[in-house]
């Protein structure tokens, strides 16, 4: 019997953690029970990107998007949608904005997807990543075929250079140039894919590897052909078990189909690919530390030059590209450099995947042309800030970047503009903050991360970031002085100038950038001993206003018995006993409890 409908259950890590594997199994069971299992195909794809709505299920050919699915929803959904052809109203996706609220939109017409341009994520959520034939069905391995049969290695490098593709790991170094430098060297070469995605809030590489693993394999082979290499390594952290499993399976299938190994397409081109698992140290995302780690040494960076393109893995010329960079290659080869260079703005070409997180309605992955404004990303695609709160800032580039504020909302997002604003593209994490976030506390959070992750090789990073953190702790505790602020900035600038590798050089960015944009908050912590956003525990006090209706809920919920008062009368908090846990504020039905 012909397949008349297909049910795609998201199998990304995020949806899996909220039970999507069980949901898939339930679909299998129910369809069998109803007797329509032969005409409906159910499978798990990679990440759809709209993680906020997970677990996600999309039904074709209707292109109906269901969010927040549970196992219990599966049976009624099957009976309604797949048997009777009616939309299962309880879980179907509806837009939040007024104009669209009554409409049920097709999957690709939803506001979240309509404004995106998907090159890197083109197969994520569309194909079954465990089946190589589905990748081939979407023109997979055709770019490799074209390169091996119709192009010389130099032509491949020229094409990549002409496209204007730049490194998506954050630095933005022209990819074609990197390949060119490596290809100039004679003899053996290595191709390495940097999949050591480690900054808080970033998960775009993971999603590509989980959702479209063959795109990376194919691109690495193309790179191998271009620079004259027959061996590749994917350096991936063991903390990404699903991505590791998906890649391992994909590599195995590619060997079985003769798309890896010896004499590919009968052209005499050989390429072998292996995974190398990292233990999850942030510094190993730095390319020289990554090389050390693959070589079996402690993951520490070394001075550049020599650059890896000249002396890389085991002193052999090596190119190291990020997952996000490789994911563009097959499309550039298939569609041509001109097609790619027409996307983006005058400073950089192509698209960028951002991981939206924090205080935003549509948490998830978005891919937009470079040069898209922050407003489009946060409001049109991201759906704005939840609970009617006010947008305050967005941290880009994770612990190596800085924050952008309201006045940057209409600035085109590209490498150049971000550097000019004291932050960077980084891997693409965007952590959105609202009025309830204290910027000093945010800077402290990111600095804590880099202090933990510093490898300890150079003094500025090892000692300097630690001293900076001590100062920030002092400020957050209300014990800071104005001299501390001056010193903090001075130390930050010194570390930026003197640290050995990218980790140390960029570690002070969150502090410098929040100081530049929210200096008044730092001053308030020091001179008024107050935290304007009400976050820093040492500086806030809970009190009950006249709004209190005397219900006694706060007193019953207080874990330390700090609240007293008679029923139907205003209650009071004993600040000497209060541990500032915030339980009372959550419990109060009328919002009478405030922090100052």
């Amino acid at each position: 019997m012909a397949i008349r409908a297909q049910v795609v259950v998201c199998g990304g890590t995020s949806c899996r953690s909220s039970n999507s594997v069980k949901i898939k199994e339930e679909f299998d069971r129910v369809l069998k029970e109803i007797g329509i299992d032969k005409e409906i195909l159910v499978f798990q794809s990679g990440c759809f990107g709209l993680c906020e709505k997970g677990p996600v299920v999309v039904i074709y050919p209707d292109e109906t998007f269901y969010g927040h699915m549970t196992v219990a929803d599966v049976e009624p959904l099957c009976r309604e949608h797949l048997l009777k052809g009616r939309v299962y109203d309880k879980k179907v996706y509806k837009e939040k904005n007024k104009d669209d609220i009554a409409k049920i939109k097709l999957f690709h017409e939803m506001n979240f997807y309509a404004k995106q341009e998907r090159i890197v994520l083109r197969n994520c959520g569309i194909i079954d990543p465990t089946n190589i034939e589905e990748y081939i069905g979407r023109e997979g391995y055709e770019a490799l075929g074209k390169v091996l049969t119709k192009m010389t290695p130099t032509e491949v490098i020229d094409e990549v250079s002409a496209s204007g593709l730049a490194g998506r790991g954050g630095g933005g170094f022209p990819t074609g140039k990197k390949w060119f430098f490596a290809a100039k060297n004679k003899g053996k070469h290595y191709v390495i894919c940097n999949a050591d995605e480690g900054d808080p809030g970033a998960f775009m590489n993971r999603s590509v590897m989980e959702g479209d693993p063959h795109a990376i394999i194919e691109a690495m082979e193309i790179a191998g052909y271009a620079i004259g290499s027959d061996q590749g390594y994917i350096y991936i952290r063991a903390e990404y078990p699903l991505a590791v499993e998906t890649l391992e399976n994909a590599i195995k299938q590619a060997y079985e189909y003769g798309l890896l190994g010896k004499n590919i397409f009968g052209t005499g081109f050989n390429f072998d690919l292996e995974l190398r698992l990292g233990a999850g140290a942030f510094v190993c995302g730095e390319e020289t530390a990554l090389l050390a780690s693959i070589e079996g040494q402690r993951g520490m960076p070394r001075n550049k030059p020599p650059f890896p393109a000249n002396k890389g893995l085991w002193q052999i010329p090596t190119i190291i590209n990020n997952v996000g960079t490789f994911a563009n290659i097959t499309q550039i080869i298939r569609n041509g450099a001109t097609w790619f260079s027409n996307i983006g703005d005058e400073t950089a070409k192509g698209t960028k995947v951002f991981a939206l997180g924090g205080k935003i309605n549509n948490t998830g992955l978005v891919e937009v042309p470079i040069g898209t404004t922050l407003r489009t990303i946060i409001y049109d695609i991201g759906g704005g800030i939840p609970n009617g709160k006010k947008f305050k800032a967005v941290q880009t580039g994770g612990p190596s970047g800085g924050c952008l504020t309201e006045k940057d909302l209409d600035m085109p997002i590209n490498y150049k503009n971000l550097i000019a604003r004291g932050t960077m593209m980084g891997s693409g994490a965007m952590i959105v903050m609202d009025e309830d976030n204290c910027m000093v506390d945010v800077a402290r959070f990111f600095l804590e991360f880099t202090v933990d992750e510093s490898c300890g090789k150079c003094t500025p990073c090892r000692e300097g970031t630690k001293r900076m953190l001590e100062m920030l702790n002092k400020i957050c505790a209300g014990k800071g002085t104005m001299e501390d602020l001056t010193e903090l900035k001075e130390l930050a600038l010194t570390i930026k100038d003197s640290a050995l590798c990218g980790l140390g050089q960029t570690a002070p960015n969150p502090v410098l950038s929040t100081m530049a944009n929210f200096y008044d908050e730092y001053v308030a912590h020091v001179t008024d001993q107050s935290c304007p956003a009400g976050v820093c525990k040492a500086l806030i006090h809970y009190s009950i206003t006249d709004k209190c209706i005397g219900c006694g809920k706060c007193a019953r919920n207080c874990p330390v018995g700090a609240i007293s008062g008679k029923i139907k009368e205003k209650h009071v908090i004993d600040t000497a006993i209060c541990i500032k846990c915030g339980t009372c504020k959550t419990a109060c039905p009328v919002g009478a409890i405030v922090t100052k």
Binding site: M1, A2, I3, R4, A5, Q6, V8, E39, Y60, P61, D62, E63, L83, K84, G85, R86, H108, I126, I127, E133, E134, I136, G137, R138, E139, G140, Y141, E142, G145, T149, Y257, G258, L259, I264, F265, G266
Partner: protein
């Protein structure tokens, strides 16, 4: 993989199986599949339509199901939306009629007058 032809063969087969997931811009065929439709035999009709579309490699045609069409006595009902949005409603459709709809309307571009609901009502009125 020894040649590009071999790859093209796999691609063709896989693309066919995945076609249902593509955006289409051609004809859209809708089958009423509420309880009334199912009892009247809409399921074999739906399956026939899907099979015919796949067999004939009509990649730009979409076959979907909807709920009750409103005229339960005339089920199974099949509606055909042409790319310009025009709608044709066929009633009392069974697998044989479904095959002809694909052949004559979807491929041939000609509405089969005697299957339409309008024709049925006109005949009844006489």
């Amino acid at each position: 993989m020894k040649s590009l032809e071999e790859l093209a063969k796999i691609r063709e087969k896989a693309a066919k199986e995945m076609n249902i997931r593509n955006e289409t811009h051609g004809y859209r065929i809708v089958v009423g599949m509420a309880t009334c439709g199912i009892t009247a035999g809409a399921r074999p009709v739906l399956n026939t339509l899907v099979e015919e579309v796949q067999k004939r490699n009509l990649t730009d045609v979409k076959v979907t199901q909807v709920g009750c069409m409103g005229e339960c006595a005339l089920e199974p009902i099949v509606e055909v939306y042409s790319p310009d949005g025009a709608r044709t409603t066929y009633c009392l459709v069974h697998p044989e009629e479904a095959k002809r709809i694909i052949e004559e309307h979807i491929i041939g571009g000609k509405i089969i007058e005697e299957f339409t609901m309008e024709y049925y009502h006109r005949k009844q009125a006489k």
